[in-house]
Symmetry: C2
């Protein structure tokens, strides 16, 4: 564990040091619950932190809070007082690319156990 640059305490998504934004993005999205959170906010939905917990199969608030903070810092999610968490404009753009995943998942599941 002596790799990864001298200073990488909290901020700075993994791979962001490489200067390749795609790596930073893939790392951010490849953390547990991140994709799920974005998915649950589809269709301009807004969820309170506790509604999110319910939506995410009662995931622990610790990690949801962590992920929501990361996504807020990344500018993909925003917290609107009195309303809850929502996708930002940027977040919606990102989600656009995930939408076809739904159809893909259906097709994929049919080939799973074959």
């Amino acid at each position: 564990m002596l790799k990864k640059s001298p200073a990488m305490k909290k901020r700075g998504v993994r791979g962001s040091t490489s200067g390749r934004p795609i790596m930073a993005l893939l790392d951010l999205l490849g953390r547990r619950w991140t994709l799920r959170i974005i998915w649950e906010l589809r269709d301009d939905r807004s969820l309170t932190s506790r509604a999110m917990r319910t939506a995410c199969d009662e995931a622990s608030p610790t990690i949801l809070q962590t992920r929501l903070s990361e996504l807020r810092e990344a500018g993909l999610v925003e917290l609107v007082a009195g309303d809850g968490y929502r996708l930002s404009g940027l977040g919606k753009d990102l989600f656009e690319h995930f939408l076809p995943l739904h159809r893909f998942a259906e097709r994929w599941s049919k080939l799973q156990s074959h």
Copy 2:
């Protein structure tokens, strides 16, 4: 830790019990290195397990092996003897949806530290 169904030792992607394929897919893709692995196999690339390790910033072989096995079982990646790991037809279909992420990541990174 007494949730998550009685029998869920190894097989069975999380969320697959819900009968919603998208959840199973999001869970599979939301594991560390999974998105990165798929990304490194873009453009019909084929990588040996050790080349993959190099491509993935010297990630530990343990987890790469685990992820590659999961992806093989999911039918998204295949191992061709004497050639290496490659995306399957299904895997390529999936990757198609990720391709626009590259452009998105560029745009996103510019808004990061503002």
